[in-house]
Symmetry: C2
Subunit: 632 residues, 2 copies
């Protein structure tokens, strides 16, 4: 083995090693894992578990599924993320957004659709990871995200009005829910409403108490103050669990009272570990077998949208916590796809990173992704032992949990800086928001992205064009300078062409100079358009020059057979050339006047062009002419 081979081998090994570390981040932290970290992770994991359980039950109901499906969705992601996850704070599981998007797909159908959607989301994410399609996520801008999350928060809060008021109605979408809630307002169950409102107030208060300053900032806290502040913090963090447990105990005790329990309860939650089975590739609905292809057709665009929205959310959380470090989006995509694919084998609905639980995880001082182990075990223990008690959870308390989670996702405060900074961006924001509410979240986000892409394409189609008359100071020679403010691609070429022609016609005795400084790329259509423009100027005997073209631009023009593309590398070269031209023109002009006393001697422009062609031949650069003091 030669030295070269050895070094190649070493470099290959190095690459494989780095790839392995990137794809299995556990290898990075596991070797240094010790008891201290384990304790921190256990505390954080258990705290997250206290939030995860009520949220799981609530989001399953939000998705239109039986509550246990929320728990089925809540543990796989925790375990998978330990091995593949690259951001220690992230907790994967059911979220309000995924639940809402799932609900829109399984409405009037059955749970099999939710599980298949979970599986297909994973597959699409895997495909995206392999095809490097993470770039798709970049096409969802902040305005669209803001409009979308705000709208979904409003929709989710609205759907929870039913639970809060104790109404037993079914509805779909924002407008339908509002309409039905108003119509059934007289059926409000006052016990549920009182309980729900109390829960909301308690949750909002508990959310704030962790910020209470017990010690003046200039003094050191005493031991008691330290303990109290720790207790307040823990109460604040576990507020969801505390409220739900308290309400359940209340409901359990009232059940045995004379009037029975006055609240609408969650009802039976099926216990036990879910059956491990492949996702359903066909299903029975209304006594009819629906094959895979029809299920896929029914799910429609959500097969692509759900995984993209999931990745978007997950990467956003990853970025929020990875202060300073770059987020490996491909790895997150890959991990998320595994979570969904494996999840679908234990009847999970589509899952992604949860912002609220990741924040709890962070606040609880998690050290490594190992925290997920404890959250996952808690969920499994709950499935094994706690489900009989879950049935006593009042629905109003779960609604309160959801409402308090989503109202802080309505991002009204971003409107002001957006107005100050880039007003145009308010259009996709409000379009997305309104359409998500009025029609549906999927249509809303698609149209929002569409509007955003149109904004993006607009400068390609109608670039700014700056036209000015320039005068060379020394010689007094005038010319028209046209500067297109963008690259030259097919949608812009007709526009640029007609602008340059117009500039030329307005002063047909002056040469026209196109400044290519902002033209970073050209395509074939544009090259052909420029070619026909050059022909037009030649027919009119008006000189047309290009200055500052990039090498790539010259190459494209050259390829599209432009023998008459006359360019200069700098404005100095151009001015030098124009001065030379004027001198020559004078000579030829006087000679021609002598030779042809009755000729077209009143058209110096024509003389200039003839003269230019002459120079071309003299230059001897072949067909393609470059005027430059340094070349040829």
């Amino acid at each position: 083995m030669s030295v070269l081979d050895k070094s190649k081998m070493a470099s290959f090994k190095q690459k494989m090693r780095s790839l392995m570390y990137n794809r299995l981040p556990i290898l990075k932290w596991a070797p240094n894992y010790g008891t201290n970290k384990l304790v921190s992770d256990a505390v954080a994991g258990i705290t997250v578990g206290l939030t995860a359980m009520p949220q799981a039950l609530a989001y399953a109901t939000l998705a239109g599924l039986e509550p246990q499906y929320g728990l089925y969705s809540a543990f796989v992601g925790c375990f998978v993320y330990i091995i593949f996850g690259s951001v220690k704070e992230i907790t994967i599981g059911p979220t309000a957004l995924m639940a809402l998007m799932t609900y829109q797909q399984i409405e009037g159908r059955n749970v099999d659709y939710a599980i298949l959607l979970c599986f297909l989301s994973g597959v699409v994410q895997l495909l995206m990871a392999f095809l490097n399609l993470g770039v798709l996520v970049d096409f969802i801008s902040i305005p669209v995200t803001v409009g979308f999350t705000s709208a979904t928060s409003v929709i989710i809060a609205t759907t929870q009005l039913k639970g809060l008021l104790g109404l037993k109605i079914s509805s779909s979408g924002f407008t339908d829910t509002i309409r039905k809630v108003v119509r059934h307002l007289d059926e409000t169950r006052w016990h549920d409403l009182s309980l729900g409102l109390t829960c909301i107030i308690v949750l909002l208060l508990f959310r704030k108490i962790k910020d209470i300053k017990l010690t003046p900032s200039d003094k050191k806290p005493t031991k008691n103050q330290k303990i109290l502040s720790r207790v307040l913090w823990l109460t604040s963090i576990s507020r969801n669990a505390i409220v739900v447990i308290a309400c359940s105990i209340l409901a359990y005790n009232l059940k045995n009272s004379s009037n029975g329990c006055p609240f609408v309860l969650t009802g039976t939650v099926r216990g036990g570990f879910p059956s491990v089975a492949p996702p359903p590739f066909s299903t029975e609905l209304n006594n009819k077998t629906i094959p895979f292809t029809e299920m896929v057709t029914d799910l429609g665009t959500s097969i692509v949208l759900v995984p993209i929205i999931a990745v978007l959310g997950n990467v956003a959380i990853a970025k929020a916590f990875a202060t300073g470090k770059t987020v490996d989006a491909t790895q997150e995509l890959f991990t998320l796809s595994l979570c969904n694919i494996i999840g679908s084998f234990v009847s999970s609905m589509p899952i992604t990173g949860s912002f609220s639980r990741s924040a709890v995880n962070h606040a609880s001082g998690v050290q490594t992704p190992m925290g997920g182990l404890f959250t996952g075990i808690m969920v499994i223990l709950a499935l094994s032992f706690l489900t009989p008690y879950f049935s006593y959870i009042p629905k109003a308390s779960l609604s309160a949990v959801i409402i308090c989670a989503v109202i802080f996702m309505i991002e009204y405060e971003v409107v002001k800086p957006m107005w100050r900074s880039s007003r145009k961006d308010l259009v996709p924001t409000f379009a997305t928001f309104v359409l998500c509410l009025a029609i549906g979240v999927e249509i809303g986000i698609l149209i929002g992205v569409g509007i955003n892409i149109i904004f993006l394409l607009y400068p390609s189609a109608r670039p700014t064009i700056h036209v000015e008359k320039k005068t060379i100071v020394d010689s007094g020679i005038e010319y028209i300078l046209v500067t297109p403010g963008n690259s030259l691609y097919f949608p812009a070429i007709e526009f640029i062409k007609s602008s340059v022609v117009k500039a030329g016609l307005s002063s047909s005795h002056l040469p026209v100079v196109v400044d290519c400084r902002f033209i970073l790329g050209v395509d074939f259509t544009a090259a052909k358009g420029i070619s026909s423009m050059i022909t037009e100027f030649m027919l009119r005997n008006q000189p047309l020059y290009f200055i500052n073209p990039k090498e790539e631009v010259i190459a494209v023009f050259k390829g599209a057979v432009m023998e008459d593309f006359q360019y200069f590398k700098s404005v100095d070269d151009l001015q030098q050339h124009l001065s030379d031209q004027k001198e020559k023109a004078k000579t030829i002009f006087s000679e021609e006047t002598k030779l042809l006393p009755t000729g077209q001697s009143e058209e110096p422009a024509s003389v200039t062009t003839t003269d230019l062609r002459e120079i071309k031949c003299v230059n001897g650069c072949g067909n393609f002419v470059q005027h430059s003091s340094s070349s040829c």
Copy 2:
């Protein structure tokens, strides 16, 4: 009335006058119209008529309609264009492309769909004209157009194989036609094939004879030579009519022979002027009434695609003939919409400008759009008197006419310059071509445009980024210069951010300078991204500057609350600042070393940043800092 009001009034009158002239181009040429022009227009109009009639019959058959519908479609456009048309050569009527696109819509349905499509195309074109959506046409590039027209030519030529071979089969699409023709090859009717091939050969020969040079180029032509050359030219121009008439006479004579006519004939062509009636807003199909909404659903995307393709074709022809003048695309759109809307009242199928007939018009020396009057009258006369004779036209001869018209539309010769100029453009070309053949022309063009738009968006998402280490000659100060090669919009921001951060991390002791010279626009998402990048650099105590930002860019950054956006108007200002910094750092560094002998004195970078903040306050520009020798 004050002077100001008068001048306003005059300016308003001027504007209205100019608008009227633009919208009614007949006002421009009618006042100067005389006998000379009338004679020229009459000759040209009649010559065009000789081409229009056989083409109309052939294209109606191609669209799957009875032949008279071709004639119904061939006269309205001629009359409308006289008043509203802005390019004298253009002749509006049925074309091979419109016929093919109509066929794909009415296959298995009835003629009402074709007429409704004509009406709706007109309405969509009117909408496009009012909403200024002519820009949509700009999004169809040369590569897509080439792929599309070449594919349609191949498809049309293929469908004509049936007529040429005398096969009586029905088929749809390219692959289906090829398969069925091959399967029924043994049913070939040799008489038809011979006649068809003869017609093709004659048509191709006649096409060439107008180029025969009777006179050596250095001699003046004699009178006889002039007449002969004129006869040859007329024969060449009217070749379609000559071939069709000759074949019909042959068929008519053979009909009375013992074996009857050996050719498949066109059959009855219903004569007389079509009934004038509103387009059908519902129809009877298979004994079922189909309402308007269902017809529209059936027509699908063609309602948008057919009018756009029609405009594209028409504007392309207009540009080809309007040498030097700018084409008023809105006016052409408006005229075309009137042609289609009015046409639909006399049972027309969708129509647009015909390249071949416009070329004949041009070659025949047409002077004004009045030529259309004669073509239109000829078609109406034909409907009134000639239809009994049209039934003797052999189908093979019409197939030959179509084949000879479309084979020259296969643009293989564009591939070579495209390869030389911009290879990437071959992707949409071939994708469009293959998909049009394999799936259908509408899907083909949509995917072609989609690929093209992805190419267009790519630089917005993944711009070039140039990173280099710069050293200031005088002071030896080093810095990292990062130059993004595109505007800063949402799809690119994450990419640019991570590139700049990476550049910063690679030499974390040097300041990073972002050159904004190519950044012509910024949106809110990008501003927020830059903001978080600035925070990251501050956390790392690494200075980050921006140079050459445009005013618009600064405004957007300012709006998104960027107190720490530090920029310089030129590279000189930056270098001056860096030198000043170095001096100050030295002083502070030595002072700090004195004060804190055990402090973090080994991190000059941190000192620089602290120092920068200090300067900000000293500058007194408020929250938003601009370092410039001239400002503050």
